[in-house]
């Protein structure tokens, strides 16, 4: 099988701007599907609203384009109803961390077997470039004309703190690593989070002297540092760096729908 089996080629060309990182992330996802050999009819692919959310149109699987911020809540219903299916969620940084922040921490807390990929382009891309919970400080956006004063969410710490059992970060500037990491997260049984650092040169870059794809990808590339390299550096040297890699993996904690079956269904039916 080819990874193109997981693409609705009849819906192409896609609607993303030329050079947008979302396409790279989509390719990593469908390649991971292919590597695992998942049957597309067994995959539920759920997205929120935003440029990232548009991915559900192009993925050849059972797809649903939900509301802004809430794809994880829909995915929870799907997974709990049909625990033997694969449930994958793609959500933007605004989608997952601002309007959907509550659903994010609670899905993590439950450790329900949903594979979440957060496309972190540090901005509200779809709506024209407003500040998001991951916009760098001092950056100009449509709604921070004097520069952003708000600190960022650390997605990794947030996910680990909330109880996610697989937490990792990669960048569109390293597509092969991204693909491998997504594949690894798909193997994981439990709530997994992959933060994919992406570029929105159109709506974030152009206001911050990063107005074309190459300039913005270089800027990302200068800031990222793989975990094994970072380990050899002093805290001072990596202070402003974005560390990439697998931060947390817990294979011991029981997954939610398994627990549901074992503890609740069995007890309710008197078969302890």
């Amino acid at each position: 099988m080819s990874y193109l089996e997981y693409v609705r080629s009849f819906k192409l060309p896609h609607s993303w701007c030329p050079g947008c990182g979302i396409g790279t992330i989509m390719q990593a996802i469908v390649r991971a599907f292919d590597a695992l050999g998942w049957k597309h009819e067994d995959i539920a692919f759920v997205t929120g609203i935003g440029c990232s959310g548009r991915m559900s149109t192009y993925i050849n699987a059972n797809t649903i384009h939900t509301t802004h911020g809430r794809p994880l809540a829909f995915a929870t219903g799907i997974k709990l109803a049909k625990p033997d299916k694969h449930v994958v969620v793609v959500s933007g940084d605004g989608d997952a961390l601002a309007i959907g922040g509550n659903h994010f921490i609670h899905a993590a807390r439950r450790n329900i077997d949903i594979k979440l990929i957060i496309i972190n382009n540090s901005v509200y891309g779809m709506t024209g470039g407003q500040v998001s919970p991951t916009t760098p400080q001092k950056f100009k956006t449509q709604t921070t004309p004097y520069g952003n004063i708000e600190p960022n969410f650390d997605v990794i710490k947030l996910a680990i703190g909330a109880g996610a059992t697989f937490v990792a970060r990669e960048s569109v500037t390293r597509p092969r690593n991204l693909e491998k990491l997504i594949e690894k997260s798909f193997h994981h049984k439990g709530f997994s989070v992959v933060e994919a650092i992406s570029n929105c040169h159109i709506n974030l870059g152009r206001r911050n002297k990063l107005k074309d794809q190459i300039t913005m990808l270089r800027w990302i590339n200068d800031r990222i540092i793989p975990m094994n390299v970072a380990k050899k550096k002093s805290p001072e040297e990596i202070k402003d760096k974005i560390i990439l890699g697998l931060f947390h993996e817990d294979k011991e904690r029981k997954e939610y729908t398994e627990l549901y079956e074992e503890e609740i269904i069995n007890r309710a039916r008197g078969k302890e």
Partner: protein, 374 residues
């Protein structure tokens, strides 16, 4: 079988009899007992219950389960009903069957959590944004609560639309003897599905004759179907084509509008010879039934028109049942939400008996209003 239980529990038992196998909720008075009953009953039949992080999420989870083929439900009251609105609209847009129970309490805002009201009649119709079809039913009597719950699921499945079951605090909380119908005494309707094994592109799912619901597959049936919250074409994919958007918006309306005669259900009590007709729903209608009995004993010709289906509003049945000469009083625990619809239907002004203080409308109050004269 007879059982003593409050309306909230009756709904839970009826939902399971209707085939409901998924419930997602968030606690709120006066609906919480319904979630509690579902948390106990559903796992016994292999169903799933989940308390989500809020009402937005519970509405979402119920829709998520429904698109996989499970009959699903959520329950709430006032503030929670407000929170569910965005996703009620999404279920209308995607044409996903789902049942929403709203046990009405005093509002607006946190209002009167432990007191009855009927202030959400308009929110049930127009709570979510945009033009959309909706069905809402409002039972009054214990056995009727059971049967209307089953009918709510049937209507949701048949028309692929959210159906709102409206109760109020009194009906939700009052313990009453329920004469539970046997399985043979009601129909169970399941959504129609496309046959398995067709090529994905062989049929245009949202395409249908005017008045029909669409024939959509469930997730994991092998069709890789796309459910879309944006305006979509006949295949379910986003479109801004004015002609297509117009057509599908009207088709969604039409599936309820063209079938309203089958969806309407009204209870008429001594309307024909009445000088005065009360119009009421829910617990107020219970008081109205008692008022009619009291009035008739005194020789006062009082009747009751009780819509059980509130939306689509029974305008034609009202016009057929009520004559120009009859005095009409709409009794409701709000400031005239039903009255406005009645006036629109009858094309004349009618009287209102309205209470918004958290205290039920008694039979005596209705009778007094009747005697007061115009």
């Amino acid at each position: 079988m007879r059982k003593v239980m409050p309306g909230n529990e009756t709904i839970a038992h009826a939902a399971i009899a209707a085939g409901c196998r998924f419930f997602a909720g968030y606690p709120i008075t006066p609906s919480s007992e319904l979630a509690a009953a579902m948390s106990y009953l559903l796992p016994k039949v292999g169903g799933k219950f989940i308390q989500m992080e809020d009402e937005i999420a519970s509405m979402a989870a119920a829709i998520g389960a429904s698109i996989t083929g499970e009959k699903s439900m959520t329950a709430t009251s006032g503030p929670g009903f407000s929170l569910k609105q965005e996703h009620i609209g999404l279920a209308c847009m995607m044409e996903v069957p789902v049942v929403i129970v709203n046990v009405m309490r005093g509002g607006p805002s946190t209002g009167l959590p432990t007191h009855p009201a009927q202030g959400d009649i308009m929110q049930a119709r127009w709570g979510t944004h945009g033009d959309h079809p909706i069905i809402a039913v409002a039972p009054s009597l214990p056995r009727e609560i059971y049967l209307e719950t089953i009918r709510a699921f049937n209507l949701a499945e048949q028309y692929r639309n959210p159906v709102i079951l409206l109760l109020d605090e009194i009906l939700g909380h009052t313990y009453e003897v329920v004469d539970i119908p046997e399985p043979g005494e009601y129909d169970i309707i399941n959504r129609k599905l496309p046959p398995k094994g067709l090529n994905r592109l062989d049929f245009y799912t949202y395409q249908r004759d005017e008045g029909d619901p669409p024939l959509l597959p469930n997730f994991f049936m092998g069709y890789n179907f796309h459910f879309e919250s944006l305006a979509h074409d006949e295949m379910g994919f986003p479109t801004t084509d004015p002609e297509k958007v117009d057509r599908i918006t009207r088709l969604r309306e039409a599936k309820i509008e063209k079938n309203k005669e089958k969806i309407w259900k009204n209870h008429l009590l001594m309307v024909e010879d009445a000088d005065t007709v009360i119009i009421a729903i829910g617990s107020v209608a219970r008081s109205a039934i008692a008022a009619v009995e009291m009035a008739r004993k005194e020789g006062i010709k009082l009747g009751l028109f009780r819509p059980i289906t509130v939306w689509p509003f029974p305008d034609e049945p009202l016009r057929e049942a009520i004559t120009e000469k009859q005095r009409v009083i709409v009794a409701e625990m709000n400031l005239g939400q039903l009255k406005g619809e009645v006036e629109k239907a009858l094309r004349r002004e009618v009287e209102g008996l309205n209470k918004v203080n958290g205290v039920p409308i008694s039979p005596k109050e209705i009778l007094e209003k009747v005697k007061e004269g115009k």
